[in-house]
């Protein structure tokens, strides 16, 4: 009987039902899109922020020592190996140039192929971890005697793209491009690592390596680990270790390369955390605003429905229906509308998220199916929250006044 009443009354006023469905639809479309963005914004923003440089610096554990470049592929063997976007070893020194003067060189990877299990055609180097480097000319080939001249160095020495330099008295090197990084590299001649090792007489060695890793924003747990890792409980340690904090990735790099010390570049890591945190807070506020607006819309529609159906409610009370029975009717109606609006909203939210992802991050955001039941539950919660206050009026409605036209 109740089911029949819900069914009949639900589609008896198609305009009101459509408005309720639309209200919930708009809110859930927005909320599911924002949820998709919230879920992905950490990764997406982290990728975006990677353009500002590496966030971990690997150095020898003992001052004056070197890293063994043969060990570096182990960087891609840690637990969070898939979060390692790339790395570039660094070897600095000075050599003599054509004019007999000394020139500071930096050996590194530019776009070095590296065999990595599970990742075909993995390349690493400055091209990946320092996308903000502006090159006038072309990136050097790691296998050939080519170099980038820092912009200030090239200007001072009058070097041009395509010019061949003779280093260390006998080694010809072609300037493939002029580098403008805004940093110390503008004063250096940047060459392939193998060439630097040969010129400096340090085969298989590197002073340090810059690592670019996708990380999650710092939080209280990572801050605690950063202050004193030994203070973590076993459970906290497991959570910290299995979360892609910059500190836990740095720790795993130290485990993989025993002779190395990994130092997070906190400026970058902290910026990521702050920006992602603020973006997520903004999305949360927008979600709450959408929830509130939808709940108010449903409240207005339910209040209208109760006013319109006052005679019916009064009759049900006269027939000895309990107020909660009548309230159940209205709650069931808005729940059905919410489920329909929520289902449509999930679909629209997914399309919106794809569009926003494409616009904001240059790639469509994947649908997080796990959010669908959550969004549906939220849709029902919006509707019930909105209907709650007006439905309370049912208890106060006096059947005698309504049935005899005094109200």
């Amino acid at each position: 009987m109740l089911t029949q009443m819900i069914f009949h009354s639900w589609h008896r006023n198609p305009r009101r039902t459509a408005l309720t469905v639309t209200t919930v639809f708009l809110a859930t479309a927005l909320i599911s899109a924002l949820l998709a963005i919230t879920v992905s914004v950490g990764d997406q923003m982290a990728r975006e922020l990677k353009s500002y440089g590496a966030n971990i610096l690997l150095e020898p554990a003992v001052d004056g020592d070197y890293l063994d470049t043969q060990d570096l592929p182990r960087i891609k063997e840690i637990f969070w190996r898939h979060n390692i976007l790339g790395f570039a070893p660094l070897l600095a020194g000075t050599v003599t140039a054509d004019d007999g003067g000394e020139v500071a060189i930096l050996g590194t990877f530019f776009d070095q192929p590296l065999p990595v299990e599970g990742e075909d055609d993995f390349h690493t180097g400055q091209k990946i971890i320092a996308p903000y480097w502006r090159i006038d000319g072309a990136w050097p080939d790691d296998a050939r005697p080519e170099a980038l001249a820092g912009a200030r160095l090239a200007e001072r020495r009058g070097w041009r793209v395509g010019q061949t330099l003779t280093l260390a008295g006998a080694r010809p090197v072609v300037l493939s491009g002029i580098l403008e990084s805004g940093g110390e590299e503008d004063e250096l001649l940047v060459v392939p690592l193998a060439l630097a090792q040969e010129l400096l007489g340090r085969p298989g060695r590197a002073d340090a390596a810059r690592v670019s890793a996708l990380t999650v924003p710092e939080n209280r747990l990572s801050a605690k680990a950063r202050a004193n890792r030994d203070a973590l409980t076993a459970e906290e340690y497991d959570v910290w270790y299995c979360t892609a904090y910059v500190s836990s990735i740095a720790h795993q790099l130290e485990e993989a390369l025993p002779g190395a010390r990994a130092r997070p570049v906190w400026q970058v890591a902290a910026s990521e955390g702050v920006i992602v945190g603020k973006v997520q807070l903004l999305l949360l506020v927008a979600t709450l605003a959408a929830l509130l607006a939808a709940a108010m819309g449903v409240a207005a529609l339910t209040a209208g429905a109760i006013l319109e159906r006052a005679a019916e409610i009064a009759l049900l009370k006269a027939l000895a229906a309990r107020p909660r029975h009548i309230a159940l009717l209205f709650h069931a109606e808005v729940t059905v509308s919410a489920l329909l609006g929520g289902a449509l909203g999930c679909g629209a939210g997914w399309l919106l998220a794809r569009h926003l992802g494409q616009t904001l991050f240059g790639a469509p955001l994947a649908m997080a199916w796990i959010t669908v039941p959550g969004v549906l539950a939220l849709a029902v919660a919006i509707a019930l929250l909105g209907a709650w206050l007006p439905v309370r009026q049912i208890a106060a409605l006096a059947p005698a006044e309504v049935l005899h036209g005094r109200r």
Partner: protein, 216 residues
Amino acid sequence: MNIIETHNLTKSFGSVIAVNDLTISVRRGEFVAFMGASGSGKTTLLNILACLDTFTSGEVFIDGHNLAALDEEGRRVLRANKIGLVFQQFHLIPYLTALENVMLAQHFHSVTDEPAARQILGDVGLAHRLHHRPGALSGGEQQRVCIARALVNEPPILFADEPTGNLDEENECNILALLQDLHRRGRTVVLVTHNPDLAARADRIIRLHHGKVFEP
């Protein structure tokens, strides 16, 4: 034995006294008409007796139950078990069929019993209109559905508020005949009307004027 009793019953709406120190009684199985002009307090009295409204002072007993001692839930239970209501405007749910409208009263009383609902609609002459919605029924048929709904839970008291007010003469006669038949079969019927011809069909007329019993 009295099934309805009031002692010094008063109901006021602010400064307006609708029922004024009223003491009346209705015997079990009696057919009584409350008669009076508009504003005489007859509908207010019916609402109080039907447990649809509260009162300001005095005492009301329905089948031995003191209404003053009952809370809203108690009045609801009493209404479900003791009282059937017939309205001038029928108040049928427009999207339910005649049968469903009758079964609705069963639902809120206890459990639905379709054969019993069909039987009661057959008793009021609507066996062929079970699956029609109110919009497809005449005024007289709608009022008979309303009476069937009032009777389906077999309450001992039937309150009918201007039951023929929206009907033509032929249907008026049919409905009155139906009420008289119910009375003959032992039901207590309380009819509220301003029409002296209708009131004359009752065993007894209680005339009201300004909320008091008026003896001409």
